[in-house]
């Protein structure tokens, strides 16, 4: 029942429409019905919206929506090898870094690793209570035999946060210096933040092998880099205009201004961004374990797959605990940066 057939007939396009008629692939309605395990509803009464699928029924020359999605897929597949050729070598160091860090975190004995992490905590936070808290959490993980997976997760978070900061801060600086750059990058950041994670996992799986660690590395970084970029941009834009004017009046070069005035004064905001980046990369760990990332996420996944309630909940709470630890440590570091700028 082609409702818009008469329309094409009046326009005298019937011959054009019926030329080289082929069997339609599938309409969107059929595709959805397939996914839900039912049959497509045949021709609801009333006037359907003249969508691609409806018009296709009337005139075979007009493509279906399914053609659009297939075209997109074919287009991607067509450039896939070229894309892979370019992206593979560029992203290879990420695999090495992830594998190397994972190796260190896994193979270092607990009696060396724990003091090292506590020392790091102390150096970053200079807070006795935070260090005690971290010690307690580490011992707890070890006590319930989750030490190794926790270390794997921590290793992944460290590498991904490090790379996010490495790229995010310069991008944020660039954005703060140019309104054009800001206008063009902000929509991209919005996209990265709102696009369902699985959506960019799909092309990544096409591009890289699931066994490669950079696959989940890229997924985590794309998601987690956003806040550090945003807050670096914001932080530099919020630097007191009077101080910037003074820097100009005393003849500071652009580089001196950046290093001596803008970055130090934006540091509290940048650190808040780093804190958010850490939290978001931790949030991605479970999804990343779908594509072979090791760590606590694997246990959560196992809990879902095998309906192993206990394992899932313990691992899930473990992630929360890790998140709290990382949050407290980075907040303590932020406070340290913040108070030095004001009063002691």
């Amino acid at each position: 029942m082609a409702r818009y057939a008469a329309f094409f007939d009046t326009l005298g396009l019937r011959d054009w429409c019926d030329a080289d008629k082929v069997d339609a692939p599938v309409s969107m309605a059929q595709l959805l019905a397939q996914a839900q395990g039912g049959d497509a509803a045949v021709d609801a009464p009333g006037l359907p919206f003249p969508s691609l699928d409806t018009l296709h029924e009337a005139c075979a020359r007009i493509g279906q929506t399914r053609d659009l999605t297939e075209g997109l897929e074919n287009g991607f597949l067509a450039i896939r090898s070229e894309l892979k050729f370019v992206l593979d070598p560029i992203t290879q160091p990420l695999s090495w870094m992830l594998d190397g860090t994972l190796f260190v975190f896994e193979s270092a004995p607990w009696w060396a690793m724990m003091p090292a992490l506590l020392l790091l905590t102390w150096l970053v936070s200079r807070s006795r209570s935070v260090t005690w808290f971290v010690a307690f959490v580490l011992l707890f993980f070890a006590f319930i035999d989750h030490y190794e997976v926790a270390m794997q997760t921590l290793a992944i978070v460290f590498v991904c946060t490090g790379i996010s900061v490495l790229f995010g801060v310069p991008i944020g600086i660039g954005m703060s210096k140019s309104d054009t750059a800001q206008r063009s990058i902000v929509p991209l950041l919005d996209l990265l933040q709102t696009l369902p994670t699985f959506v960019y996992l799909i092309p990544l799986i096409f591009l890289f092998s699931v066994t490669e660690s950079k696959l989940y590395g890229i997924a985590i970084i794309l998601y987690a880099i956003v806040p550090v970029i945003r807050l670096t941009d914001l932080g530099i834009r919020l630097v007191d205009r009077d101080v910037i004017e003074a820097a100009n009046a005393f003849g500071l070069t652009a580089w001196q201004k950046l290093m001596r005035v803008e970055l130090p004064l934006a540091m509290p905001n940048i650190m808040a961004g780093v804190n958010q980046t850490i939290m978001m990369s931790l949030a991605m760990v479970v999804i990343a374990s779908l594509v072979s990332a090791p760590g606590l996420g694997v246990l959560v996944l196992r809990g879902i797959r095998a309906l192993d309630l206990g394992v899932g909940i313990v691992a899930g709470l473990g992630i929360v605990l890790l998140a709290v630890v990382l949050d407290r440590v980075s907040k303590a570091a932020l406070n340290r940066v913040d108070t030095r700028a004001k009063t002691k």
């Binding site: 009077d242 101080v243 003074a246 100009n248 005393f250 004064l265 004001k342």
Partner: protein, 345 residues
């Protein structure tokens, strides 16, 4: 004498097509017409000021008069729409980026209304900033920074952070920072306006004391007439982006050029501001009630004469007789002349 800094025919118009508006303004279009008909704001209009070396030039005006815009033209924090800014005869507009930076580092330093210190640096590091920007060695930086901090009365505070100091002390750091740059020109943008009245007086005295010793060319912006009269060697009064009157402050006080200035100066304590040299006459008589210094102010004279208007004093300056002061003239000078009486004179 060629001026240290000269501003010639300076215009600043804010808006998208500012250059095209200059002929209109030169043709006599006023601020409100320019805004309503062309959507451009007239910031500064035909400014011509000479600033002599070793003098304090005070630019005064109410808020919105364009005084802060004007001072920012001198080191090109703001670029003019038209006109010239000559520093030691060279046009600042002709400088490229590197030359401009070098001029800001070595020729002109600036003190800001809101201090604009680096909050994450200590007082000493703030004072050293101009030298560290120029790449001076650590020992020089340290010595110069400490020297000027001590000179503005801040020894012992080197290791503190700006937020730990009071406003007055923070501005002392601001002044020390400007002095460390060792420039011969100092720009002071409402430097004391954010301070309490008592501290402001302290800082004015500090500035005058430093100036006696250092003989810098200071361009000082203020909205406070008392402050302007106290500090100025040359006073420029701005209104709506144009110079209304400029000259020696005592002269402006005694001979205001238009009703706006008359209004302005009418609330001033003239006895404290006016000095004997401004109201004395050439020497005529021979009988005097005593000798007075040409630089005493009228308040001191009233105290000295005990209010007796029949007294006549001989005026001396550096030991030489320069004129005589009739107390009747002094009393007349205390009353601000209004336009009406001015015409009758």
């Amino acid at each position: 004498m060629t001026p240290k800094v000269a501003i010639r025919g300076l215009y600043k118009i804010f808006g998208a097509d500012d250059k095209a508006m200059v002929p209109l303004v030169q043709g006599g279009m006023d601020k409100s017409t320019l805004l309503s008909a062309h959507r451009h704001v007239l910031g500064l209009c035909d400014i011509n000021v000479d600033m002599q070396a070793g003098e304090i030039t005070v630019i005064m005006g109410l808020s919105g008069s364009g005084k802060s815009t004007l001072i920012r033209h001198l080191n090109r924090l703001i670029d003019p729409t038209a006109g010239e800014i000559l520093v030691d005869g060279t046009d600042v507009m002709a400088l490229d980026a590197a030359q401009l930076r070098s001029m800001r580092q070595k020729r002109m330093s600036m003190v800001f209304q809101k201090f604009a210190l680096l909050p994450h640096k200590t007082v000493l590091e703030n004072a050293q900033l101009p030298l560290s920007v120029q790449g001076a060695d650590a020992a020089t930086q340290d010595a110069e920074g400490r020297k000027w901090l001590a000179r503005v009365g801040l020894d012992g505070f080197e290791g503190r952070y700006p937020a730990q100091l009071s406003g007055g002390m923070q501005q002392r750091v601001g002044i020390a920072r400007a002095l460390t740059a060792n420039t011969d020109i100092m720009l002071m943008d409402e430097a004391f306006s954010a301070l309490d009245p008592l501290i402001r007086t302290d800082m004015q005295n500090l500035l005058l004391e430093l100036q006696k010793e250092l003989q810098k060319t200071i361009i000082f912006i203020t909205h406070d007439l008392d402050e302007a009269l106290k500090l100025a060697d040359h006073l420029v009064i701005l209104k709506d982006g144009a110079v209304v009157q400029q000259g020696e402050p005592q002269g402006i006080l005694l001979h205001p050029a238009d009703p706006y200035i008359e209004d302005f100066v009418s609330d001033i304590n003239r006895a404290r501001v006016l000095r004997v040299r401004s109201v004395m006459r050439p020497l005529q008589g021979e009988q005097f009630n005593g000798d007075v210094d040409a630089n005493s102010n009228l308040e001191e004279m009233i105290a000295k004469s005990d209010g007796d208007t029949s007294h006549i004093y001989r005026v001396t300056e550096n030991g030489e007789t320069v004129g005589q002061l009739d107390m009747k003239d002094l009393v007349k000078a205390l009353v601000p002349r209004l336009s009406g009486t001015h015409a009758a004179n």
